[in-house]
């Protein structure tokens, strides 16, 4: 019944920002249908993809996410009429900005998963998890989070000495 258990060197943390009306219900359907998908995904429920601010994505990366999935209703199916149309434009722009800053877009996945597409949810999550697993941990934002001051590196003898004398 259960898929064969394999041990991996790296278990990526995947954060999924989903809309409550379609993808959350789709994920629920996958669960009630007993479909198997990687447990790496943490689902966060939002009213609509239009509610998902790019800041959430930044914050998730900073706090340790290795991959991020944003998923909502198919165009035209939005519970609030146009939320996903706005989200589509916003994320089209945000992707380009992240790429320009130097983030690998392979870690960021957008998808439309309806309430009836439990199978698609499994497919999307599995694909993203395996892709991110093969890429390894997302280091950039996490490093920033732990660094104190980039400009305060003790890279000269004078600074080293001053630091030692404290």
């Amino acid at each position: 019944m259960h898929a064969e258990k394999t041990d991996h060197d790296f278990e990526p943390k995947i954060v999924a920002f989903v809309c409550t009306w379609c993808t959350y219900a789709g994920a629920d359907l996958a669960g009630t249908s007993r479909m198997q998908y990687p447990p790496n995904v943490r689902v966060l429920k939002f009213p609509c993809t239009g509610r998902i601010d790019p800041v959430f994505i930044l914050r998730a990366f900073q706090k340790g996410a290795d991959g991020i999935l944003v998923s909502g209703c198919h165009p035209g199916d939005c519970h609030y009429m146009a939320g996903n149309f706005h989200a589509r434009r916003r994320f089209a722009a945000f992707r380009q900005l992240l790429e320009f800053i130097g983030v690998d877009l392979q870690r960021l996945q957008f998808s439309w998963v309806s309430a009836a597409e439990g199978g698609k949810w499994v497919e999307v999550v599995t694909e993203l998890t395996e892709r991110v697993r093969s890429m390894g941990p997302m280091a950039e934002f996490k490093e920033l989070e732990t660094e104190e001051h980039w400009s305060a590196q003790l890279n000269t003898p004078e600074l080293q000495e001053a630091f030692q004398s404290i």
């Binding site: 930044l58 165009p75 434009r89 916003r90 994320f91 089209a92 380009q96 800053i101 130097g102 001051h149």
Partner: protein, 315 residues
């Protein structure tokens, strides 16, 4: 990063008679407007205390109309003085505002966002040859060496849709598009190199928020980035917060920024912020065929949508 390139040609781009003509036209118009009572105030530039500088001024008295000037030191985007944060000026009734082409794009954007009403404004456009860069030597005349980077590839020397244009545009030589070249250089890099570049740039950020303060579009009464509980962006000048702040700033200006590059000029650490703005403006043009213009447009690209927008990146 230096926003001007000192090695470049120091020969003056325009002669002093041009500035005198623009200044005279501004003064005559301001005097007329204030004498007729058409406007209650003129927002313009007056000479600064040091040579080659200018400072913004709100002129309400007729006798002060002759203090108005135009010089290469007139860098400020005066649209800032009409945004939400400066309510008292707008309340005084119809005001005239001096605007370069780039400032006019900001004004048009603010009108499109219902922050300003066109009928409450008297737009005094400038036939602008360019202004000094942030670190330019102001004892020198405006030249390829002292001109701001944004002005090198300016497409809005002559304003449109204004009530009055001061001066005539002199013949201007073509200047090398330094900012465009820098953008192309960054785009050609690998993502890792770009990350290293921006990490290095943002590492200098001291989070003084001058870029926010000077931006005509950052008019929110409470900025998302100042909020805690829940906190979106760290407020201290730590690496994580700096990166977050600059990404959010660029994102919130996407499809709105008029390209006045005031953020870059005001930055005490010389972070090339306008590169981000330009990149996003370029993306808006490619993705949604939107360009910031000098006349108000219905809706920005991120506050509107079309049913057949590209979704090739969505699975």
């Amino acid at each position: 990063m230096d926003t001007t390139v000192p090695k470049l040609d120091p020969t003056p781009l325009v002669d002093a008679a041009y500035y005198a003509a623009v200044t005279a036209a501004l003064r005559a118009e301001a005097t007329k407007l204030l004498a007729e009572g058409t406007v209650t105030a003129v927002i313009g530039y007056v000479a600064g205390r040091r040579a080659g500088t200018a400072m913004p001024a709100v002129i309400t008295a007729l006798e002060r109309a002759n203090d108005l000037i135009f010089s290469p030191g007139c860098q400020n985007n005066l649209a800032l003085y009409l945004t939400k944060a400066k309510k008292e000026i707008r309340k005084s009734g119809k005001v005239a505002i001096v605007a370069k082409g780039c400032d006019l794009r900001a004004l048009a954007g603010l009108m499109a966002e219902n922050q300003l009403k066109r009928e409450n404004l008297h737009l005094m456009g400038l036939a602008c040859a360019g202004v000094y860069g942030a670190n330019a030597d102001r004892t020198q005349p405006l030249s390829a060496a002292t001109i701001a980077r944004k002005c090198r590839e300016c497409t809005v020397h002559l304003p449109e849709g204004v009530d009055f244009i001061a001066g005539d545009l002199p013949q201007l030589p073509e200047l090398a598009p330094l900012e465009g070249e820098e953008l192309a250089r960054l785009e050609a890099m690998t993502p890792q190199e770009r990350w290293a570049f921006w990490k290095e740039q943002f590492s200098r950020c001291i989070r003084c928020l001058a870029c926010r303060q000077v931006c005509p579009f950052c008019f929110c009464e409470q900025c998302l980035c100042d909020r805690n509980r829940p906190q979106g962006i760290e407020t201290t000048p730590r690496p994580a917060g700096n990166m977050g702040w600059h990404i959010v700033r660029a994102m919130h200006l996407t499809g709105r920024c008029g390209g006045c590059a005031e953020c870059e000029r005001a930055c005490p650490m010389d972070i090339p912020l306008n590169l981000l703005n330009r990149k996003m403006a370029q993306e808006m043009k490619e993705l949604f065929d939107f360009e910031a213009g000098m006349t108000p447009q219905d809706k920005g690209p991120l506050s509107s949508y079309q049913e057949d927008d590209d979704q090739s990146f969505i699975k």
